[in-house]
């Protein structure tokens, strides 16, 4: 993979932060990035735009015969994720129970190691997605544990 190092580096903004494209002429979002808008062609005005980090599972599969570099992770879940702006992308689904991985399950982006160039080479990081466990519980404030003291303030 050493010869692909420039490619890994070039994709960092996309893979770390979901930086995609937006056409200011027709309003469509694209991921991965595109140099021209396929709808508007020469009339299009492409700018960079961060994609939403939440979405839902559009379709999914379980990979048993993994490609080189992913053997240790097999079997793993792979899904087409539909982001909140309608953009589709392919991603591994991690940190989720198999039964929770269903079409329309809400997912959010997480940051993970994607691949590494052997033990000595560079590490490629990027996005994967996980099923949002319990949307309600995820915004619950903490409950104190144990008895709280009532010491007087100075």
């Amino acid at each position: 993979m050493a010869q692909l190092l420039p490619s890994v580096w070039r994709h960092i903004p996309e893979r770390y932060s979901l930086l995609g494209s937006h056409c200011e002429n027709c309003g469509k979002d694209y991921f991965p990035q595109r140099p021209i808008c396929p709808t508007c062609r020469r009339k299009g005005k492409i700018v960079q735009k961060l994609m939403p980090r939440e979405g839902k599972i559009f379709s999914h599969t379980l990979v048993h015969a993994a490609p080189a570099g992913f053997e240790l992770e097999a079997p793993y879940h792979l899904a087409i994720v539909e982001l909140k702006n309608g953009v589709h992308l392919l991603s591994q689904i991690v940190d989720s129970d198999s039964e929770a991985i269903q079409i329309n399950s809400p997912v959010k982006m997480v940051f993970r190691k994607i691949s590494e160039d052997g033990k000595q080479g560079a590490i490629a990081y990027g996005y994967k997605f996980k099923v949002v466990r319990n949307a309600a519980a995820a915004s619950k404030p903490g409950k104190p544990v144990g008895k709280q003291s009532t010491s007087s303030k100075k």
């Binding site: 994607i114 990081y125 915004s139 903490g142 010491s151």
Partner: protein
């Protein structure tokens, strides 16, 4: 002292856990005895695709969001860790890029065994208070290593905590003061190119952990004129579930004041993140006006002690992390030793 404070905070922990009893079984030990001796029920297990950089990024993203800051205004990113994915190449640059920081900032990785994260807080405090930067990001993140069969294997876990340090007026907790106590004490180390750390067994207790934690805490009290009873919450570095309790006893802290920040029993020792995850758990519930004392410990050896006062900003919508530490720890899956050995690459061919 020009003050600074915690503007945002976030934590991140792996989803997999292994019970201490499951590890003990492999090495022919009595699991219940080991578990109760260490005060640890289970520890986190970072997956194959997790390392101290990914955990740091996840925690940092939560901290930046909870801080409600523009990441482009971050002037410094410091990551404290002793389990860096690269021996040479900073983790801090990965974090900076992933949180959307600008290129006009400084960054570095720090190492001081388990206290590099709190040293990062101190570095950010100085830079914010001097006006060098507007915000600093201080992170403690580790995927701790323990040699198979060694006592450390029962406790070495993974996790990260991130803190956005900024001006007191924007802070959910003001850092009133800090005091450090540092000596040259070789109680725990990992030599260059070695895979697993070594330690001095019982030597890691009295002349190492307790001497430094107690001295730094007493030093902070003396420097500030505070009494230990003035604090509502106390957080110590937690290499196991027992040491913080003993340190609390020596310093006259009742057990109920350390409970909220004692996470190691169900997470394991997250090294650079250890006391910082404990502090995050306290911030999950602390109310305006409450005082928090935190003392870290790093082998080698040193302790950083801090006094935080919680402000009313903590009550504002979305200023705490969205999921509390205890809530986050409920989402888990327990694995057996074989799965753990694979994910931690303890099998020779991996």
């Amino acid at each position: 002292m020009n003050r600074s404070g915690i503007v945002g905070y976030g934590t991140s922990v792996p989803r997999m856990r292994i019970k201490v009893g499951e590890i003990a079984k492999v090495w022919g030990k009595d699991g219940e005895r080991v578990s109760s001796g260490l005060g640890i029920i289970e520890k986190s297990v970072p997956a194959l695709d997790e390392d101290s950089a990914t955990l740091a990024v996840e925690a940092a993203r939560v901290a930046v969001e909870a801080g409600k800051i523009n990441p482009q205004k971050i002037g410094a990113v410091f990551v404290g860790s002793e389990s860096k994915p690269y021996a040479v190449k900073p983790t801090a640059t990965v974090v900076a890029q992933a949180v959307g920081a600008s290129v006009h900032m400084t960054a570095a990785d720090l190492e001081f065994a388990c206290k590099a994260g709190t040293a990062a807080i101190q570095a950010c405090m100085g830079m914010v208070a001097s006006g060098m930067i507007e915000y600093g990001l201080a992170i403690g993140s580790d995927t701790a290593q323990g040699k198979p069969g060694d006592a450390l294997e029962y406790s070495a876990g993974g996790g990260a905590a991130a803190y956005v340090i900024g001006k007191p007026a924007e802070s959910i907790a003001v850092i009133e003061d800090t005091y450090s106590f540092t000596t040259d004490t070789p109680d725990f180390w990992r030599r260059q190119h070695e895979e697993f750390p070594e330690h001095g067994g019982r030597f890691t207790a009295e002349p190492a952990y307790f001497k430094h934690v107690v001295s730094a805490t007493r030093g902070l009290l003396e420097k500030t004129g505070m009494k230990i009873g003035d604090f509502d919450f106390v957080v110590f570095h937690q290499p196991n579930g027992k040491f913080p309790g003993r340190a609390a006893k020596i310093l006259g802290v009742p057990d109920e004041k350390i409970k909220q920040g004692l996470i190691t029993p169900i997470l394991g020792n997250t090294y650079s993140a250890s006391s910082m995850v404990g502090l995050a758990s306290v911030l999950d519930v602390a109310k305006a006006g409450e005082r928090i004392l935190m003392t870290s410990y790093g082998s080698g050896a040193g302790s950083d002690s801090f006094w935080f006062t919680v402000t009313d900003k903590i009550e504002e919508e979305g200023r705490r992390q969205p999921e509390s530490v205890f809530e986050m720890l409920k989402d888990k899956v327990n694995v057996d030793y074989a799965t753990y050995a694979k994910h931690r690459r303890k099998i020779k061919s991996l």
